[in-house]
């Protein structure tokens, strides 16, 4: 097979906010302790979508199982780090900065963007969809673009009359023309405003140039992944995309909420990959799905509290599907804090893997050390 000119690799990071219950996503259904510990939120063996003789997917994660069966999903079991932090915010910060010990303000993806586009030539090298820029995408001097809603993206979006808005954007452009002979703060503002306009000009062409037979679900993660797909297909040079799916903090009423979330998430991931394939734009894309921590082994009568030993997923055509690292031990003597799944692989191993083997970026400075990598990609 003759391959076309190799396209630059693209990484799509999907954050599951709140702490996804990995034990109820990939279920050790043969373990008595699983069922004993989870009288309320446990999934009975007959409902589990069985993978092998030991593990199975949550019944609402059928699309993920389909992709797994097709060999496109690497599951990293037991991801975490020493002394896992149970605070959402701190734990998420640790995931964003790859720095568990001290407070850092440099995001791991922002540092990767700096490597991919050292001169900051393209404001779209890194694009985040959804409200707010995650710290993972932030580092001093790194230009990234944050888009709430691609269809409504732009400046002065509340000005509805098209002609008025065009006029007012023209004034904006004039007001933010880069200038030298002013204070550093004002000149920085001019440059930033000019960058924003540069990104908007390109991103606004995206929706109009996209057609697809894939119909995504009507939920936030489907919407964000559709925005990622449309932007990627438009070929604007984006190398790192970010999307977020919230609501995983299932202290209460986990059964019903987790069913909905996994339906939304796994459906969106399947539709996303299908959309890319339809546009011959899937070969160069890998999706990394992560969360800040796993949840407590024992349920609390309604849901599960914060724990450790979570799971992550790497999805794509170039992925060598299968199970990576060990599923955390269900022997209570091995539990972290006496009640949590102990991690079996450090999250920075996965960052190093994605950076080096997928994006071709040196990882040592970004993850602050050398971590053993896994081999989740097809041999070239």
């Amino acid at each position: 097979m003759v391959t076309a000119t190799k396209k630059d690799p693209v990484l799509v990071v999907v954050q599951l906010t709140g702490g996804n219950d990995f034990m109820n996503t990939l279920i050790p259904y043969t373990e008595g302790l699983y069922h004993d510990s989870r009288p309320t939120v446990g999934i009975s063996e007959d409902r589990v979508l069985k993978m092998d003789g030991k593990l199975g997917f949550h019944p609402n994660a059928a699309p993920l199982k389909e992709m797994f069966d097709e060999g496109d999903v690497a599951i990293i079991q037991g991801i975490g780090y020493e002394n896992s932090n149970r605070s959402h915010f701190r734990a998420m910060d640790i995931m964003h900065t790859a720095e568990p010990l001290t407070i850092s303000t440099e995001g791991w993806l922002a540092l990767a963007i700096r490597e991919l586009d050292p001169a900051g030539k393209n404001v779209l090298t890194g694009v985040s969809f959804g409200r707010g820029l995650p710290r993972a995408m932030v580092a001093a001097g790194v230009r990234v673009t944050s888009v709430g809603d691609l269809d409504g993206y732009g400046l002065m979006t509340s000005v509805e009359a098209q002609e008025q808005r065009a006029d007012e954007l023209d004034v904006f452009r004039r007001m933010y023309t880069p200038m030298m002979d002013t204070t550093p703060a004002l000149s920085y503002l001019h440059q930033t405003g000019d960058d924003v306009l540069a990104g908007i000009d390109q991103l606004q062409t995206v929706p109009g140039n996209y057609t697809s037979t894939v119909e995504y679900g009507d939920n936030p993660i489907a919407k964000s992944l559709r925005d990622v797909a449309r932007t990627h297909i438009a070929g604007l040079g984006t190398r790192i995309f970010y999307a977020q799916h919230g609501g995983y903090d299932s202290h209460a009423l986990e059964t019903v909420n987790h069913e909905r979330l996994l339906t939304e998430l796994t459906g969106a991931l399947r539709d996303f990959m299908a959309d890319l394939r339809e546009h011959d734009a899937s070969q160069e894309v890998v999706v990394y799905v992560f969360t800040e921590f796993g949840r407590r082994v024992q349920d609390n009568g309604s849901g599960t509290d914060h724990g450790s030993g979570g799971g992550a997923f790497i999805i794509g055509d170039q992925v060598e599907g299968g199970l990576y690292a060990e599923y955390p031990s269900l022997d209570p003597t091995t539990f972290a804090n006496g009640e949590d799944l102990a991690h079996t692989i450090d999250f920075r191993s996965i960052y190093a893997t994605l950076l080096e083997q997928w994006l071709g970026v040196e990882s040592k400075e970004i993850v602050r050390g050398t971590y053993e990598q896994i081999q989740p990609f097809n041999a070239a």
Partner: protein, 460 residues
């Protein structure tokens, strides 16, 4: 052209500046009223808050109540919008910036909110009282692990940051001072509050555990004895370094953007003379916070520093809401705005680290500049809000429509006498000329929302 009230004795632009800095902005009506008294009297009014009988917590609970952080932030924003005691509220924010305590760790919003109430109550008192209260505050004690600071096993987190970030600044004490200051705070802890469910939040309360207190001899900054935390604070507040550090914080917060705090030991203040005067005022008054504030607000350095500071997200959002005259009475809906500042990079009650927020131009990146511009433009919208209606009427009555130049000038005047560069002015005048065929109110509102989108509007 300006729209000055007859009988006014104080410049509206100066008052507008004072209220942007010493408060969260003021409406045109408020400024007009204040312009009839002297500037110095207005500074005194701000320095001497009166009890606010019309801002009651039980009323807030009805409109903004709940157990989530957004409820507490909404209540704080309502106070910022409506309190007459603007400086008192701004000082609560000031100490929140300096004594940055994150919800991220305690996840106990009541303790974080109680800390802000403490800053509101003591923020303009005496520095010694403020640092003592801080050292008794459960949110702070937990944030910096003083509950893990034990007799024989000192934890230096609070002792170190008290010196480095809360009073003296790095370079003015030794590691041994940190060790003994930490020992002096052993046993300063808090009682564990009952869990949130099922009965709601209970406060954590300060507790002194005498058995866990190290009562051995300590040496701190040359003083030796069985020092406890109170003695440490007593010594700290007498230091020249403390006075300089705290007044430089005031300057950075109220006057002009200094470089980030960790570089202060290496870089001279922007206005060393004013900092010297302010720190003398603080020391000579025995630690009265009002003394350096009074000196600062009445200084030429302050008065001429208009539009020299990048607005923080909360200043930006509350300033716009105040200008459009929204939420002058408690009503649901304010909670939606508490997330607006988060997308702009400032989550109130949850600063990113103990160092606090990085300020100045570090507030701005492409994403949050977009958020800021879109927020201001959307709030001004079609100009239907009470605040905008008032401004538009004032503009039209004062002859704004005489020429493109006068439309722009009266718009800038209406927005707090905003000072702009020629490039901004030229762009606005061109637009004003191009829109001459449109109806008067529509032209006025479009100029106002374009001014709100200008780079200069990002500055206070």
């Amino acid at each position: 052209m300006t729209m000055t009230d007859a009988g006014a004795s104080t410049d509206i632009g100066l008052l507008s500046h004072l209220y942007r800095r010493a408060g969260f902005g003021a409406t045109r009506e408020q400024l007009d009223e204040l312009s009839h008294q002297s500037y110095e009297d207005t500074v005194e009014f701000l320095l001497n808050p009166t009890p606010e009988v019309d801002l009651q917590n039980d009323v807030f609970a009805r409109y903004f109540g709940g157990e989530g952080p957004d409820s507490y932030v909404s209540i704080w924003m309502y106070r910022m919008l409506n309190t007459r005691c603007q400086l008192q509220e701004k000082m609560a924010l000031f100490w929140h910036h300096v004594f940055a305590t994150g919800l991220v760790k305690n996840e106990h919003i009541l303790s974080s909110a109680n800390q802000i109430d403490m800053f509101r109550a003591n923020g303009m008192s005496n520095l010694k009282d403020i640092l003592l209260d801080l050292s008794h505050d459960p949110a702070m004690l937990f944030w910096l692990d003083n509950n893990e600071n034990h007799n024989g096993e000192p934890n230096e987190n609070y002792g170190r940051e008290l010196l480095e970030l809360f009073s003296m600044g790095v370079g003015n004490y030794s590691e041994l001072d940190i060790k003994d200051a930490s020992r002096a705070f052993t046993g300063w802890t808090f009682s564990q509050p009952p869990p949130l469910y099922p009965h709601g939040y209970y406060p954590a309360l300060f507790k002194f555990d005498a058995d866990d207190h190290d009562s051995g001899e300590k040496t701190f900054l040359g003083h030796t004895g069985n020092l406890d935390g109170g003695d440490i604070v007593n010594i700290i507040v007498q230091q020249q370094a403390t006075a300089k550090f705290i007044t430089r914080h005031m300057y950075n917060f109220f006057v002009a953007d200094e470089p980030q705090v960790p570089s202060w030991n290496d870089l001279e203040p922007l206005d060393p003379q004013l900092i010297n005067e302010m720190s003398s005022a603080l020391l000579d008054s025995g630690g009265d916070i009002k003394a350096p504030l009074r000196l600062m607000f009445n200084s030429d350095s302050f008065k001429t520093a208009r539009f020299k500071k990048v607005k923080s997200p909360i200043e930006f959002v509350v300033g716009v809401l105040k200008m459009v005259g929204e939420f002058t009475e408690p009503r649901p809906g304010l909670m939606a705005y508490s997330t607006a500042t988060v997308t702009m990079g400032q989550k109130l009650l949850d600063p990113p680290t103990v160092e606090g927020w990085h300020t100045g131009k570090e507030w701005i990146d492409g994403g949050n500049l977009t958020e800021r511009v879109n927020f201001a433009v959307e709030e001004i919208g079609d100009g239907d809000s009470p605040g905008m209606q008032h401004l538009i009427t004032l503009m039209i009555d004062s002859g704004a429509l005489d020429s493109p130049e006068s439309l722009v000038e009266s718009g800038l005047d209406a927005m707090g006498q905003l000072e702009v560069d020629d490039s901004t002015r030229d762009a606005l005048v061109k637009f004003a000329g191009d829109s001459e065929g449109d109806a008067a109110p529509a032209r006025a509102v479009r100029i106002l929302r374009l001014i709100a989108a200008a780079p200069e509007f990002q500055f206070a």
